[in-house]
């Protein structure tokens, strides 16, 4: 059995290994006709610099299918996609997740050299978007998409693109606010200089008044525009009867503005406008830092994002592409290889070999016969299928599964669990209490103005700017560090939840194992082609996963008649083929002694007649580092659980990988997995679920933190809290370490912030808080916190990365 190729040849265009005989063209090897075609097009148009910026930058184009984009000729579809249209020129934005390097940018921005109909194209690499202006008399929208697909950059057009075209324009208000607050902060400080150095009395007393008024006018936009969000958030939080961090902040800003205004207009003092502007500026910076998460990753995609926009339908002997929403019961739809079945349908004709890994997690495709019902969500692996729709898209099994109420994750609860908000809840009460006590103390001594002074000063100096920014800067920085390690989180609140995790639950298929087809190798005496046909014919009778794997492996051999077939569950199968008894199964079943087998691989023995011919080893392609990861999790005291839809056949290999303490549960349906997570949670555990695919969606949502492992982070992300690139799978324990460390860093920065607050309060309660002290303390504490949190979180990430 030929399993290895002698020389590895990589495609000049896409860099993939050429599996079959490489195509040669212009002294270069190509893995497929598609790659060669792209090269030819680029060469004809003098665009070969594409290959110069990066080596082998190309993408193998999808097999071109005529009429796949026919729906783009539909005027209503076009209207939704095109952003601008004046009859002659049209502008359209496409999302092209396949662009990955500078060569991609270069080629996409030089499209006009391939087709003159393209007027201008501009790439936004971070958003994986291209903005195209094209001449409609030379190029239709469909032709434009076909052009992109032909060179390998097929734009992703999803159903929801068509649903809400009115995408929110990029919101610049945060930038404006930061700019204005920073502008005001700098200028107010300059105009406060005479005050800081007590120059005003020595020189011209006229400055004092003028500068104060300038400060007042500069602070107006800060108070009314820049800090508006703190007030709305504070009001909302008071309405919800939970005082978040914005309450003391809003209180502080308000008191500062009112008192400063009073002082300026009564001529009693310079006010605290500089402190206020600085505070708003730093806090807006913190918010901005915190909001800079990975906007290009969408965590809230639903099933619609994975369905195609259109489907080919046969009507009156003609084939046409119709939008999915127009698919009706009774329609004959045509599904090609690698397409997802969008609605439950009955197979009319075709060689159906359906991969349901998207729905069930079972990686082996199943063969379906004509007349069988095919559920939506399966991906066809064979040829063209024709089927009749029995349920509309919105009624299908997959859609029902998705819309199940249990699967809707509650996201808003995260805010109240945040450490900073729990602390600020009490913080506010303490601050107000201190301020009131100071007021009454001085009032009792008869010095009411001083009491008033102390009261406002406490509220001003206690304004928890440092407290408020410690969390976003720590978590924002950790988020960025994770991002560099190809781990992307929905938001910063997830990190705090990660820190509390004590139980790690894994899905098996696709998470611990790789999604690629399992490697099968044979050892034993050489088998004739005839004998291979005999084995294949026998295993084709069985529905056991291992039989299916063997059958797929031996594809291409002849099908022979089988008589007397018998299946012994848990042992093997036997039957007569061409008058020879063929037995396939465990070592005991075929009486095989003397054959070595290791613990990790699943082994199937084959006996022809009375002779044991050899064995097929089916390697479980577990991800690299699973064993080390399990070891580290165990030593750190995490409880490890594996929930799998598979049978217990691989228990021994799983045990050897994960250790004896690991809890293994087999034959778990998506519902069972969800129930298992609930069971752990009811027992008081904080559960981290690591899974993939839609079949885990329920469990991912139910768990405290749900992480989806994906080979292509742009490709598939069911509703989860984070996406982990499969290449970084083994660094999961380092990620948990870093999350735990971040919690300690935040607590540490809270302590620092509180020390600054105490110092300020010391002056404040005595009524001796001068604007200079406030103006020094506020930026000083802020800078301390920012450097402490970013420095410590980088250190923590560095340490846990090195501990691997």
């Amino acid at each position: 059995m030929e399993t290895t190729t002698t020389v590895k040849v990589n495609c000049y265009h896409c860099g993939d290994e050429c599996r079959n005989l490489p195509l040669r063209f212009n002294d270069k090897e190509f893995c497929c006709e598609g790659c060669r075609l792209v090269y030819e097009v680029l060469q004809e148009n003098n665009l070969c610099s594409y290959y110069r910026f990066n080596e082998k930058p190309g993408i193998s184009p999808e097999q071109k299918v005529e009429g796949r984009f026919g729906y783009l000729d539909d005027a209503s579809v076009k209207k939704k996609l095109v952003v601008f249209d004046d009859g002659k020129f049209a502008t359209v934005n496409f999302y092209i997740p396949k662009m990955h390097c500078s060569s991609c940018i270069w080629l996409l921005e030089n499209l006009q050299r391939i087709n003159a109909g393209v007027v201008r194209s501009r790439v936004n690499f971070l958003n994986r978007e291209v903005n195209l202006v094209f001449r409609q008399d030379l190029l239709s929208l469909r032709q434009l998409v076909e052009l992109l697909s032909m060179i390998g950059y097929e734009p992703v057009i999803r159903l929801d693109d068509l649903d809400d075209r009115k995408k929110a324009k990029k919101d610049h208000s945060v930038s404006y606010k930061i700019g204005i607050a920073g502008f005001a902060f700098g200028n107010i400080m300059l105009f406060s200089f005479p005050e800081y150095f007590s120059l005003s009395d020595a020189t011209d007393p006229g400055f004092k008044g003028v500068f104060s008024y300038i400060n007042f006018f500069l602070s107006l936009p800060v108070f009314f525009y820049c800090s508006a969000q703190f007030f709305t958030s504070a009001v909302r939080s008071v309405n919800q009867k939970f005082l978040n961090i914005d309450v003391p902040i809003a209180l502080g800003i308000l008191v500062m503005f009112v008192r400063s205004t009073y002082e300026i207009f009564s001529g009693t003092g310079p006010g605290y406008m500089d402190t206020m502007a600085g505070l708003v500026f730093f806090m807006l910076l913190g918010r901005w830092f915190q909001d800079k998460t990975y906007k290009t990753l969408s965590f809230d995609r639903d099933y619609k994002s994975f369905f195609p926009v259109s489907v080919m339908v046969r009507r009156q002997a003609s084939e046409l592409a119709i939008p999915l929403s127009e698919l009706r019961i009774g329609d004959r739809m045509l599904i090609r290889s690698e397409e997802i079945i969008p609605a439950d349908a009955v197979l009319i004709q075709g060689d159906a070999f359906i991969d349901y890994s998207f729905v069930t997690g079972e990686s082996l495709p199943v063969r379906k016969a004509n007349g069988e019902l095919l559920y939506a969500g399966g991906r066809q692996q064979g040829g063209l299928l024709e089927m009749e729709v029995v349920k509309e898209v919105s009624q299908s099994y997959l859609t029902q599964l998705w819309n199940n109420d249990r699967y809707i994750k509650k996201h808003d609860d995260g805010v109240f669990q945040l450490l900073v908000n729990r602390i600020s809840h009490y913080f506010t009460f303490v601050i107000v209490a201190v301020a009131v006590i100071a007021l009454f103390y001085w009032a009792a001594t008869g010095d009411f103005p001083r009491g008033w002074n102390a009261f406002t000063a406490v509220l001003i100096i206690a304004c928890p700017c440092a407290l408020a920014i410690s969390s976003p800067f720590t978590l924002g920085n950790i988020l960025r560090i994770f991002g560099r390690n190809r781990f992307y989180l929905r938001g910063y609140a997830v990190i705090e939840k990660l820190a509390k995790v004590d139980t790690v639950v894994f899905d098996k298929t696709g998470t611990l194992t790789q999604n690629e087809r399992s490697q099968i190798s044979y050892s034993g005496r050489d088998l004739q082609r005839k004998e291979l046909s005999m084995i294949r014919s026998l295993v084709s009778q069985s529905t056991h996963p291992l039989s299916r794997m063997l059958m797929a492996h031996l594809d291409g051999t002849a099908q022979l008649g089988v008589s007397g077939f018998a299946e012994y569950p848990g042992k093997g199968i036997e039957g007569h083929v061409e008058n020879t008894i063929v037995r396939v199964g465990s070592a005991a079943f075929v009486n095989a002694q003397g054959f070595q087998s290791n613990a990790v691989d699943t082994v199937v023995f084959v006996a022809l007649g009375n002779e044991v011919a050899g064995k097929f080893s089916i390697a479980n392609s577990y991800r690299t580092g699973v064993r080390q990861l399990a070891n580290r999790l165990r030593t750190k005291g995490y409880r490890t659980v594996v929930l799998t839809g598979d049978t217990s056949g691989e228990e021994t290999s799983l045990r050897s990988l994960l250790g004896i303490e690991a809890e293994l549960r087999f034959q778990q349906s998506p519902g069972d997995k969800l129930a298992a997570i609930q069971e752990f949670q009811e027992a008081g555990s904080n559960v981290l679920m690591v899974g993939d695919g839609l079949n885990d969606a329920g469990a991912l949502k139910q768990s405290d933190v749900g992480i989806s492992v994906s080979d292509d982070i742009n490709n598939f992300s069911p509703a989860c809290d984070g996406i982990l690139d499969s290449a970084s799978f083994s660094s999961l324990s380092a990620i948990l370490d870093t999350a735990t460390a971040s919690r300690r860093i935040i607590i540490g920065s809270f302590v620092i912030a509180l020390v600054y607050n105490l110092i300020g309060c010391w002056f404040a309660v005595q009524g001796t808080l001068s604007p200079v002290i406030a103006a020094v303390l506020m930026p000083l504490s802020t800078v301390t916190i920012i450097s402490f949190t970013t420095g410590m979180s980088n250190l923590a990430a560095f340490k846990s990365a090195n501990s691997l």
Binding site: Q43, L47, C48, R52, H172, F183, V210
Partner: protein, 64 residues
């Protein structure tokens, strides 16, 4: 010393000009994409005409 009021007026005016410039640049979308322009600027306009010798690998022979 009253000349200082005039200077302050000018300095504030200048500061407002810069604030306006900032707001204009944000509105113009200069901060929307912070990565692509840095790559774009390195592309030659006539990249295919010249053949700058790239290190070792001759990837341009296809142009001949």
């Amino acid at each position: 010393m009253s000349v200082i009021f005039l200077l302050i007026l000018f300095s504030l005016l200048l500061a407002f000009v810069f604030l306006y410039a900032f707001i204009w640049s944000v509105r113009d979308g200069q901060y929307d994409d912070e990565y692509t322009p840095s790559v774009r600027i390195l592309f030659d306009d006539e990249a295919t005409q010249q053949e700058p010798a790239s290190s070792g690998q001759d990837l341009n022979q296809s142009n001949s």
